[in-house]
């Protein structure tokens, strides 16, 4: 029997993977070929989707990008026997885009059946949990500290310190919350992880529960990810059935329950305290800190709240040891960061690398330049609150410290490329407009400042045609507004919106009449 892999992730399906799977199945029936289709997660090489793989003696061989209309010809050329031909890419593992990565979080993505606990275990899954189950809670926290793991949601706070705080609170109902409200444009690593290897997240959350004494976890998933929701619901049921969730985890007598909850289309709920309010069934309003969620979190109880990739990393830290993880990366940026190449890019997808490679090598080596073939004008790293970088700044090292020093933000690792046709005044205006739409409204600088920001940028657009005095006045006004928002806002939404605005003005003055 021949095994064929056809991805089921959002992007592959958006490019027609379901139709490809149907066509393969129909064609095989017609030709009397005994063939079994596994709907794996994607490898994250989105420019090659739909990427179909065939299991052979030498390993999996890949074909892509495949459309349903190509399927008949592929059978004619013997692709089901792994033969060469049109669209043949050779062994999947040897595709340079994949081979040149250092995959930790995404090592299993596209390889395993995302819904199968057995497949996960056959590929090293739950080895970390087995180790953690034999450790004292403090030793688990120490191992996370030792790894140097920092929060992957954007703020890069050391995970071990957060866990220690929750561990040190007196025994009571505690919670593990996974922030899967991945709202930044240009990011899809959380989504792909949940669609391609969700058990890694579930394992990481279980280990977190053991470390801090929490028996209940929630995955707060954005409602814009219906496929991830379907996968998570199914795989949670499978993990319960296999005894990896519930009141006797892997026969240890330890207890951890896990549930997925849907957000409802509010970017601000990616901010951890707004997320907790939303999970409690309220408007997603930002809370004033302190108290920290680690002490007064979900339903007023001590709560570990971490991003998907942070919690997922925990399973590999426990599988391979903190030292192994720490050896990847540079300085205080340890481990790997799955970068997400998006926007106007030739070869978009997930590129997981140890911290410390250059943005330019990522864009050129992996990304292959712009999709349009025109020159790169600007690159926005770190989502809608991240700075726009000009071509001259692209040699920057991909680590938290280098980005901080450049008044930019690595954030969740999203990289959005714009070609020379981009109008940076429009991009700055959009940053303010997005803040108008998504502000929770609790603090004035964010709620009102963003509306005024859109107006001032409109004035600049009008003035740059004809009135240099009005132009200068409005640019000064915009800078003052940015300062008020940066220092006066309660959270990163209003506080970081000035980053894309200011960087656009600084690096692209010609678009602002300069």
């Amino acid at each position: 029997m021949i095994t064929v892999y056809v991805p089921r992730d959002t992007t592959a399906c958006a490019l027609g993977a379901d139709a490809v799977a149907e066509a393969i199945s129909a064609e095989a029936t017609k030709r009397n070929i005994d063939l079994h289709i596994v709907r794996n997660g994607s490898r994250g090489l989105f420019w090659l989707e739909t990427l179909v793989e065939i299991a052979t003696d030498k390993g999996r061989v890949a074909y892509g990008p495949v459309n349903a209309a190509d399927v008949s010809a592929l059978f004619d050329a013997g692709f089901h026997e792994g033969k060469d031909g049109d669209l043949a890419l050779g062994l999947t593992a040897d595709i340079p885009y994949l081979k040149n990565q250092q995959r930790v979080n995404f090592a299993r993505a596209g390889i395993v059946d995302p819904l199968s606990v057995d497949d996960y275990k056959a590929h090293g899954g739950y080895a970390g949990l087995a180790r953690a189950l034999a450790m004292q809670p403090q030793a688990i926290v120490d191992e996370v500290k030792e790894s140097g793991l920092r929060g992957r949601g954007g703020a890069a706070f050391p995970a071990g310190i957060k866990w220690q705080t929750v561990h040190d609170t007196p025994p009571q109902q505690k919670y593990i919350v996974c922030n899967a409200d991945e709202g930044d444009s240009g990011t899809f690593a959380d989504r792909l992880l949940m669609e391609a290897d969700p058990l890694q997240l579930i394992e990481g959350m279980t280990i977190a529960g053991l470390a801090v004494g929490a028996t209940q976890g929630y995955i707060y998933l954005r409602s814009e990810y219906p496929k991830a929701h379907t996968v998570l619901k199914t795989v949670l049921a499978n993990a319960y059935a296999a005894g990896y969730l519930g009141d006797n985890i892997a026969g240890s007598g330890k207890h951890f329950d896990l549930e997925v909850r849907l957000g409802a289309g509010a970017y601000i709920c990616g901010e951890e305290t707004a997320l907790l309010d939303s999970l409690e069934g309220k408007r997603g309003m930002v809370r004033v800190k302190p108290p920290l969620p680690a002490i007064v979190g979900l339903f007023g109880q001590p709560t570990v709240i971490n991003n998907v990739l942070t919690l997922a990393s925990v399973s590999s830290i426990f599988e391979k040891g903190a030292a192994h993880y720490k050896d990847l990366g540079v300085g205080r940026s340890t481990g790997t960061l799955p970068m997400q190449l998006a926007g106007n890019i030739q070869r978009g997808g997930i590129v997981e690398l140890a911290f410390g490679s250059s943005l330019r090598s990522l864009l050129e080596g992996f990304g292959g330049g712009t999709l349009s073939g025109k020159a790169i004008k600007a690159v926005q790293v770190g989502g809608p609150l991240g700075a726009y970088l000009p071509d001259s700044a692209l040699d920057i090292s991909l680590d938290y410290e280098s980005f901080g020093a450049a008044s930019a933000m690595l954030g969740h690792g999203g990289v959005v490329v714009f070609d020379e046709t981009a109008d940076m005044l429009e991009q700055a205006r959009f940053a303010m407009e997005f803040c108008v739409v998504e502000s929770c409204g609790k603090c004035t600088p964010c709620r009102v400042g963003s509306t005024r920001g859109v107006e001032v940028i409109d004035n600049i657009r009008e003035a740059k045609q004809r009135d240099s005095k009005q132009l200068d006045d409005n640019l000064i006004l915009l800078e003052n507004l940015c300062e008020t928002m940066e220092f006066g806002s309660l959270c990163a939404m209003g506080g970081l919106t000035p980053f894309p605005v200011r960087s656009a003005i600084k690096h692209f003055p010609e678009d602002f009449g300069g």
Binding site: T10, T11, C13, A14, L15, F46, W47, E49, E182, G183, D184, S185, G186, T187, F188, R191, S223, E224, Y225, P226, K227, R261, L262, G263, A264, G265, A266, Y267, S278, L279, E280, G281, K282, R283, G284, F299, Q340, L341, A342, G343, N344, I345, G348, G349, L371, S372, Q380, P384, G414, V416, V417, F418, D419, A422, E426, Q427, F430, F434, V437, E438
Partner: protein, 162 residues
Amino acid sequence: MTPTFDKAAIDAIIAQHQELPGALLPILHDIQHTAGYVPAETVPAIATALSLSRAEVHGVISFYHHFHSQPMGQHTVQICRAEACQSVGARELERHATSKLATELGHTTADGKISLEPVYCLGNCACGPSVQIGDEVHARVTPERFDVLISALKMKEGETTP
């Protein structure tokens, strides 16, 4: 006007979830899934079940972009407006879509068939511009491709309503 929703189904949804911690969002999701929107008439029952004021329930419904308190069109078409899609033509697509359907974002076409909604990121950022119709995401949606998708929606209707 007679309610367009099934009251018994709504009551069952409330009863099913009301003991959950933080039950409001799960209840609203299920009501919207069943009725297509969250009818104002359901708010008192939700408020009573969760010991909340009606204002609190209404406040939550109006806070989240996903929840609608008015009936929607037969199909919901969401266009991604976020940066990654902008960089490959989302602004042009948005202009095309509003002109083609003769409606603004956040509104429903005059014939009640299609609600055109903005969305800020569908996680398909490597292959934009992205459009979501129902639960299906579509990649690389050029204006021409948009027209094909809309025609397909209309064809589907033709099949179901003879």
